[in-house]
Amino acid sequence: MIEAAVKKKLGSFKLDANVSDEHFICLTGKNGSGKTTLLNLIGGILTPDEGHVMLNSKNITSLPIERRQVSIITPDSCIPHLDVDRHMVWGAKNKGLNIDDDYIAEIKTGLGINFDGKVRKLSLGMRERVALATSLISRPELILVDETLSNIDNRRDFIVAFKNFTMKANIDVIFTTQSPEDASEADHHYRLESGKSTRLF
């Protein structure tokens, strides 16, 4: 369960947004509406001027990124020098989690990771699949996905599979998209306009 009520002024742009839901949450809005700023505030990349961010009843507003249990994924998110298999378990190893090979194999199949090699040499869509899989295996409490799903082919199937994995692992997700089709897979939908948020469902 994520509860964020945050205000942030960046130059002439003012964000005043609320998100209070769980499971698979979609965030839509035009370019410059504040989607990335809101995710950065929830993820800890930015600090709100006012307000708070609660994750599963814990106040994480002033926690550093590495202690939030929030994984942030943008189209550039990856650890470029690792190969796919080492990349996928990198986060889990950081957290000292047991590596379950069957679970990893299940995720690889489910998310269409049937390739290998250095992550920096993969295509953007392949890299994003690996980044999302790595986050899942590291079992955060929340995954923030910023404009990443749009680069993946067979997107609908991928989103359904990714959602299933997050539901099973009890991980909440907030993802941004420009596609109404992607938004239809969400449990909740928020729209941002000029920094103001509206809950659609």
């Binding site: 993820g43 990349i45 550093p64 990124i65 590495e66 939030r68 249990q69 929030v70 994984s71 942030i72 994924i73 943008t74 550039d76 998110s77 990856c78 650890i79 470029p80 020098h81 990198w90 986060g91 950081n94 957290k95 980044a131 790595t134 986050s135 590291s138 955060p140 923030l144």
Partner: protein, 253 residues
């Protein structure tokens, strides 16, 4: 030929002509056997080894500082790091000698535990590291600034500490930048004269007992023997330096 290419060729010629002229004179009309004697090659050996160690120390000690500057705006600290580059280098030599001076309590303490910079290999490396560090930091700073911060935020979000993110994400993906910056730092160390002419005019330690660094030796040849041996020794030094730099750049690729 377009105007940019023409101007580039002319400006490159300005840098290259004096070197070519020196090579021509050094191995031609002004050639002197003293300039390519055993003493010169020992001096070049000392200069290359000490400069390579200084560049290595710059990488080890100052890479985190350059990264810090790239991720945190701190004008005062950046200005402080530039001090060795912005003061006359003999001052750095004097400052290093003050540290181990028997006139100060701290200097007496260092000497009592066997740490001495005056005419030692340690003193030479210390001086070269200090003068090349600002060059190294200023080369790495824009490199780190141009690195995609999304990789670091992603690693932090996967639970990695800031130290682990630096060591396991930033450093492994900075190989090219570190190598380029360390080559620049090494070049700077090889060309240093001001501070080492005070701290280590010659080294009084084996295996370089009585050997002067190449820039100091060339200055000494000029003052004792005149232009001929100095130009020949300079030409040898330039050839060796160019060969090393080309080799390292080939390795970098």
């Amino acid at each position: 030929m377009n105007w940019l290419k023409l101007i580039s060729c002319l400006s490159l010629a300005l840098l290259v002509i004096p070197v070519v002229l020196l090579l021509y004179e050094g191995f031609g009309p002004l050639r002197d056997p003293i300039g390519y004697g055993y003493e010169v090659f020992r001096a070049i050996e000392l200069t290359l080894l000490s400069s390579a160690i200084a560049a290595g120390l710059c990488v080890t000690i100052f890479t985190p500082l350059a990264y810090y500057f790239a991720r945190n705006k701190n004008s005062l600290a950046e200005a402080l790091a530039d001090i060795p580059a912005s003061i006359p280098h003999p001052i750095i030599g004097v400052a290093i000698l003050v540290i181990v001076s028997p006139l100060t309590p701290f200097g007496r303490f260092l000497l009592s535990v066997g740490i001495n910079f005056f005419n030692t290999f340690l003193g030479l490396i210390t001086a070269l590291t200090i003068v090349s560090a600002p060059i190294y930091i200023n080369s790495m700073h824009p490199f780190f600034q141009s690195m995609n911060v999304a990789h670091e935020n992603y690693a932090l979000g996967l639970g990695a500490s800031k130290f682990r993110t630096f060591m396991s994400v930033v450093v492994p993906n900075s190989g090219r930048g570190i190598l380029t910056a360390s080559l620049i730092a090494m070049s700077r160390a090889m060309s240093e004269f001001g501070s080492i002419s005070i701290v280590a005019y010659y080294v009084l330690q084996q295996p370089f007992y009585g050997v002067s660094p190449a820039p100091v030796l060339i200055f000494e040849y000029y003052t004792y023997y005149g232009l001929g041996p100095a130009v020949t020794a300079s030409a040898v030094m330039i050839l060796v330096s160019i060969a090393i730099m080309i080799l390292l750049r080939l390795v970098k690729r």
